[in-house]
Amino acid sequence: MTSMTAPKTAAPSKGQVSPGRKRSAMARRLIPYGYLTPTALLIVVLMVVPIVMVISYSFRDNVIIQDDSVLTGFANYTKVLTDPDFLTALKNTAIFITVSAVAHLVLGLGFAMMLNTQLLGGVTKAIFRIVYILPWLFTIAVIAVIWRLLLDPSGVINYVLHTLGVIQHGVDWLGSPTKALWAVTFVNVWSGYPFFMISLLAGLQGIPGELYEAAAVDGTNWWQRFVHVTLPQLRPVIISMAVLDLIWTSQQFALIWMMTGGGPLHATEMLSTYTYKQAFSEYEFSTASAAAVIVLLLTMVLAFFYVRQQRER
């Protein structure tokens, strides 16, 4: 005969937690961090580390190319901020991004309203939609090559303008120090407006029809409806897009580099091309880092407005 006895186990006293439970509670707390770890690591490796390195380079001299780099404080910043080429690049960038953003907005809104109108049929709208979106489908390299050919002194643009009697002689759009900045800005506007157009079209389609009906009942005309209904409804989209566009356009490098290389005579020099030349032509990685940090700070100001606007929404 066998008898079974219950094992002697002490009941856990109040406030005491068994090791198993302790482990499981800790695991529960760790799980969210575990999921976040890959992303956090990627952010650290791909963003935080490079940014910190560039900032540290900007306070040193002889970085990267020599082993004996030395701390120089703000000397690189002083050098960059007193360099006439940098100031020219800053001015050009300000003109380039402001004109581009305004033109993107005006063109994008105009085309979006056209595509949203009831006056055109579905097929016509579809055709225009494809035509208007075409510039967005080309890569920057293709855009640069196409427009270099079009804007050549013996290119199509001059031929058309000459035929129409607008100009008498071939204009050197990209080779003239007074025209080059406007020429590359025009190309940037051409290549970037479709994104505005699509976003604003989505915004327009989200405006309730009742608002327009109510405005019509009040006896408003088209312009009044545009100013008092359309624009206020699109305001959040317009502000977001404009701030993002300013940030993106300030980082435009490939288009400028492939079209003019920052020339002629620094007429199209941008902060991006200036920084690139400092790093990869002059091998002045310290001043290039200082210039990059200045660009980062300027971009952060724009990013601040973007984030604030998003929070308000």
Partner: protein, 429 residues
């Protein structure tokens, strides 16, 4: 319990994945190349040559090397010139260059100063290599860091039809004849101009190929005892001459942002009558415009000059990474490329001139113009004073900007040369 275990596993999985990412990241930052297993060595060879040669031709040359040296494998990292340049500049800065690298003479000084490329003089002496067979070596402070494998010369290209239409009977051989011919071609009307001058500052090699070439063709030099000498009478005469071409209105418009490819395109389309260009473009021009009648000639020299004419060139150079563990094997590969037979073969398929003096390219299947150019090359001497200079691209850009000021009437020749001299002197010490 099961649920808890599964959660724990998931948490561990996430942490493991993160660790893996970190590990991969760490691997990415380590030195790139050479795997040695069982006595076999794999050498990475980064260059832009493979991208410019007919498909598969470079692989054949590499395979022959592997057949002769079964324990050395070559992994080709071929990319276009611009990408290769960017990769090598960042690789040199981070000391992660591939074992063997294709080099442009313009990069050598900076790479050598950074300690990124190896002293090949030592490797040559260690392996008792006969350096006398090399046509040239690029040195920094007396040590060889680059060996030019194939050279591409830049002769004068002349559109024969335009020259005939302009009533010019002979190809210009002097500066006066060139200006005269350029004026007559420009006078034929339409959009046609006598000459193209690419001065784009993104890649400012127009200064080397299209401006300084006039100086070298008359036996001049922009350096004196290794220091800049831009205010010399010869350099001034060269810049004045380019200005006179501009003042005469014979230069194709758009030159301030014109790139080398634009120049070739304008010549191919018959929009300019003459250009100074790489011989490597003959096939491209013939492919794009088979009926274009053109020929190559020596660069015009100053009136009355009778000495040997310098002819600008660009090279496919080769160097060895200072951080490779297999320098001996890497040099064996370099020796193979520089051997008489291989070098001749490579020059033939590249339409260039060999870096080995004893190698003779086979022109039997090439355009007769290559033979003409080879004769010009042998009668003159290869001249490119930017090779081996520090920050040479930046030197070209500085000169380019000053020349643009002269051509737009914003500066005098003397002012431009003085400013260039000052700027260059701060770089070339």
């Amino acid at each position: 319990m099961v649920l808890r275990t599964s959660r724990l596993k998931r948490a561990l999985g996430a942490v493991t994945a993160a660790a893996l990412v970190a590990f991969v990241g760490a691997c990415g930052s380590s030195n790139s190349s050479d795997t040695a297993s069982g006595g076999n060595v794999t050498l990475e060879f980064a260059q832009w040559w493979g991208a410019e040669l007919p498909s598969g031709e470079f692989d054949k040359i590499i395979n022959d090397f592997t057949a002769q040296n079964p324990n050395i494998h070559i992994k080709l990292l071929s990319a276009p010139y611009a990408s290769t340049k960017q990769q090598l500049i960042t690789g040199a800065a981070s000391k992660t260059l591939p074992d063997v690298v294709g080099l442009d003479g313009a990069w050598v000084n900076d790479f050598a100063k950074q300690g990124a490329i190896a002293d090949m003089s030592k490797l040559m002496s260690d392996s008792s290599y006969d350096a006398s067979q090399l046509a040239s070596q690029v040195q920094v402070k007396g040590k060889t860091y680059m060996i030019p494998v194939v050279n591409f010369v830049y002769p004068l290209f002349v559109n024969k039809d335009l020259l005939a239409k302009a009533g010019v009977a002979t190809v210009p051989a002097t500066r006066t004849e060139f200006l005269d011919a350029a004026k007559k071609i420009s006078a034929t009307g339409g959009d046609v101009k006598g000459w193209a001058l690419p001065l784009d500052t993104a890649v400012p090699n127009g200064i080397q190929n299209d401006v300084m070439s006039w100086l070298w063709a008359s036996g001049g030099s922009m350096l004196k005892d290794g220091k800049p000498d831009l205010t010399s009478a010869q350099v001034k005469s060269t810049v004045n001459y380019v200005k006179s071409l501009n003042d005469a209105g014979v230069i194709a418009p758009g030159s301030l942002t014109m790139k080398e490819q634009d120049k070739v395109e304008k010549f191919t389309n018959g929009q300019v009558g003459m250009m100074i260009d790489s011989l490597a473009h003959i096939n491209l021009i013939k492919k794009n415009k088979p009926d274009l009648k053109f020929e190559v000639a020596a660069l015009p020299a100053e009136d009355g000059y009778t000495g040997k004419r310098g002819i600008p060139y660009a090279s496919w150079g080769i160097g060895i990474s200072n951080s490779t563990k297999h320098k001996a094997e890497a040099f064996k590969f370099v020796s193979y490329l520089m051997s008489k037979e291989t070098n001749a073969k490579l020059s033939t398929i590249a339409n260039g001139f060999p870096g080995n003096k004893n190698a003779t390219p086979d022109f039997s299947n090439s355009d007769p113009m290559f033979k003409t150019a080879f004769d010009i090359y042998q009668q003159g001497y290869p001249a490119n004073e930017f090779v081996g200079l520090p920050k040479s691209e930046d030197l070209m850009r500085t000169f380019d900007e000053q020349l643009q000021l002269v051509l737009t009437g914003k500066s005098t020749v003397d002012e431009a040369l003085n400013k260039s001299q000052q700027s260059w002197s701060s770089v070339i010490e």
